[in-house]
């Protein structure tokens, strides 16, 4: 197991290098000259030229890239063009908020999705199953910006149960997390259902019955553990989609997270912030994938890395 984790960790190194290259190249492709942007309107040619010299923009691309990476390794992501604050500092205040939102959403995705899937699978083609699956289909189909606004309207504006927006208490977490997690929960529910139905037909389930095991134990001990293997993959992928989703949800609920930071930075053409934000989001995704693979191996010891 330890070897598995070490090997898997080694595999993330080329991925991370790849991510830095992609982020760097994308920023080169963005139209507009950073020096012109930085110098502001009405700057003289000399000023721009001096800035260009200062930023190292005269250097060949690969030199610029190595400068970029070595700065990264020292924890330097540059400064925001908007307020001259270090980008890393900005990200560090925002990342925990987004992570919190993402983790609660994932919890909703997992708990709600799996419960619904199991309920459906126990009595397939029953009325309960049909209702759960129709709700799940709605969950997949509803766009989160609309769903978030509807939740806000009903539970905050009309019923006054949850605060409308912001990020101060646990109560603030509920609606955004639900908005973000609902789609994933629906996908996980459908996945759990089909996976359970597949597993329940297997010979080893019949063996368990022939041993005299109770139906409840068969579901939770024998079937679920096997059925979860594909579900874990889906949850991992959902987490990636979720990070993208935070951009919308943070905007709707006025949460100062990473997603909103990136959107604001794009709007202001604050390139260093965009670059840093995208890089950090990608790294989070790499880490999540790592965790998913380790979990996968825990559930299924047959997996080996070559």
């Amino acid at each position: 197991m330890i070897w598995f984790i070490i090997k898997r960790l080694m595999q993330t190194v080329p991925v991370i290098i790849g991510v830095t290259i992609v982020v760097f190249v994308i920023m080169q492709l963005v139209p507009g000259d950073p020096a012109v942007l930085l110098a502001g309107e009405g700057a003289t040619k000399e000023t721009i030229e001096a800035l260009r010299e200062q930023l190292g923009l005269h250097q060949p691309l690969y030199v610029q890239y190595f400068d970029y990476v070595s700065n990264l390794l020292r924890g330097d992501m540059g400064f925001s063009l908007k307020n001259n604050q270090p980008v890393l500092q900005e990200i560090m205040t925002r990342l925990p908020i987004t992570l919190e939102l993402a983790i609660f959403s994932t919890l909703i995705t997992i708990v709600l999705g799996m419960l619904a899937g199991i309920i459906s699978a126990i009595r397939p083609y029953s009325i309960l199953d049909t209702v759960v699956m129709v709700v799940a289909l709605l969950g997949i189909s509803l766009p989160s910006f609309w769903f978030g606004l509807m939740l806000m309207y009903s539970f905050s504006v009309k019923l006054h149960i949850f605060p409308v927006a912001g990020w101060d208490s646990m109560l603030h977490v509920v609606l955004p997390a639900f908005t973000l997690g609902a789609g994933g929960a629906a996908i996980v529910a459908r996945m759990t259902r089909s996976s359970m139905l597949e597993v329940i037909r297997q010979d080893y389930i019949r063996t368990a019955r022939a041993k005299g095991v109770k139906e409840r134990v068969i579901i939770y001990k024998h079937a679920l553990r096997n059925a979860l293997i594909p579900v874990i993959t889906v949850v991992g992928l959902q987490f990636g989609a979720l990070l993208g989703g935070t951009v919308l949800v943070e905007s709707i609920f006025a949460i100062n997270g990473l997603g909103r930071m990136i959107v604001d930075a794009i709007r202001m053409r604050d390139l260093p912030v965009v670059q840093g934000g995208v890089l950090v989001a990608s790294l989070v995704f790499v880490v999540v994938n790592l965790i998913v693979d380790i979990l996968y191996r825990l559930f299924n010891k047959r997996i080996e890395l070559n």
């Binding site: 297997q202 019949r206 063996t207 022939a210 041993k211 005299g212 095991v213 096997n226």
Partner: protein, 333 residues
């Protein structure tokens, strides 16, 4: 051999209801099993032998399957009418089962020791540690080397023969009185087959249980069984002691089966085959179910279904040839 009856199946009927209609997979089966005896049930794929065994333990997937009638008497109790909770206490404890596919019959994500211990903990008042110890003992009993180590392994780390031994260990862990083995050696290669059969025989003699061995392999029957029931299309067509069956097979189907075996002392270009196909389970003929393939069939066979009748050799056979009506008919013809 003691003559105490432990299991008696009377007119067992198991039906499957599907969109295409009702399939009478098992249509009125009778047999008895005595203590310490091995009963072979033979027949080709789809003749209902596996369904019969699953019906005894009420493991038929329902829906679409349903035990539509008959009795399964185990120590005086009718299992067909037993509440599910009582049935669970019996499964894996007093009656246990080994399945055909050792590769898929064990849970892939649980250590095999734990899977054996699960049955022990369910039926015997043992704690987790004692059950784990008993599981290791069972692995040793079925001849698995270094059982302590193996108990902690998962099925994918074991070979097919090894897994079948684990299945046997699991089935025998609570000292059942009846063991149902559904093609226990079909998926294994020939040398492993012999080992597994010898192991089952040994354990049967030691533990004194009754065994129902389901197979399509007449060689296995000849080697291990005391009695044989030959099934065809959901019915028993012949029921005899193994010796009698091989010496004087009565039913044309049994005769055909035996004739189609390759013979060691003859140089055969082609093996004998029984012409035709088994009738569809959804559309059984009203007469004898073998009539369409039987070289002896007459109108009597095609129109009326024969009963299982006793023959002078002591065998029971479901064929008009051995009834009084056969002679009468020939006079008419």
């Amino acid at each position: 051999m003691s003559k105490e009856v432990i299991l008696e199946v009377k007119n067992l009927q198991t039906h499957f209801t599907t969109k295409r209609g009702t399939s009478k997979a098992v249509d009125g089966i009778d047999f008895t099993l005595h203590k310490g005896e091995t009963l072979g049930i033979v027949g080709e794929s789809g003749c209902g032998k596996s369904i019969t065994s699953l019906s005894i333990l009420r493991l038929i997937p329902s829906p679409p399957g349903k035990i539509a009638g008959g009795e399964v008497l185990f120590k005086g109790r009718n299992l067909v009418e037993l509440p599910e909770s009582e049935m669970r206490k019996l499964r894996g404890n007093e009656i246990s089962m080994i399945f055909q596919e050792p590769m898929t019959s064990l849970n892939p994500v649980l250590p095999v020791g734990e899977q054996i211990a699960e049955a022990i903990r369910l039926h015997q008042k043992l704690n987790k540690k004692e059950a784990a110890k008993k599981a290791v003992e069972m692995l040793r009993l079925v001849g698995i080397p270094s059982p302590e180590k193996r108990a902690k392994q998962e099925p994918f780390q074991l070979s097919g023969g090894m897994r079948q031994r684990v299945m046997i260990a699991m089935a025998l862990s609570c000292n059942p009185e009846v063991l149902i083995a559904d093609e226990p050696t079909t998926a294994l290669d020939v040398t492993i087959q012999a080992q597994i059969l010898r192991l089952m025989k040994e354990l049967q003699e030691r533990l004194g249980m009754g065994v129902i061995l389901i197979t399509h392999d007449l060689g296995v029957v000849a080697e291990t069984c005391d009695k044989v029931a030959v099934m065809y299309a959901g019915n028993i067509v012949e029921h005899a002691t193994t010796e009698t069956l091989f010496e004087t097979p009565l039913h044309p189907y049994t005769q055909g089966l035996l004739a189609s075996l390759p013979k060691i002392d003859e140089d055969q270009e082609e093996l004998y085959t029984i012409e035709g196909n088994v009738p569809s389970a959804f559309n059984m003929p009203s007469g004898c179910r073998f009539a369409s393939r039987c070289p002896l069939a007459t109108n009597l066979c095609r129109e009326y279904k024969p009963e299982l009748i006793e023959h002078e050799s002591g065998s029971k056979v479901r064929c008009w040839v051995y009834s009084n009506k056969w002679q009468e008919q020939e006079v008419v013809v």
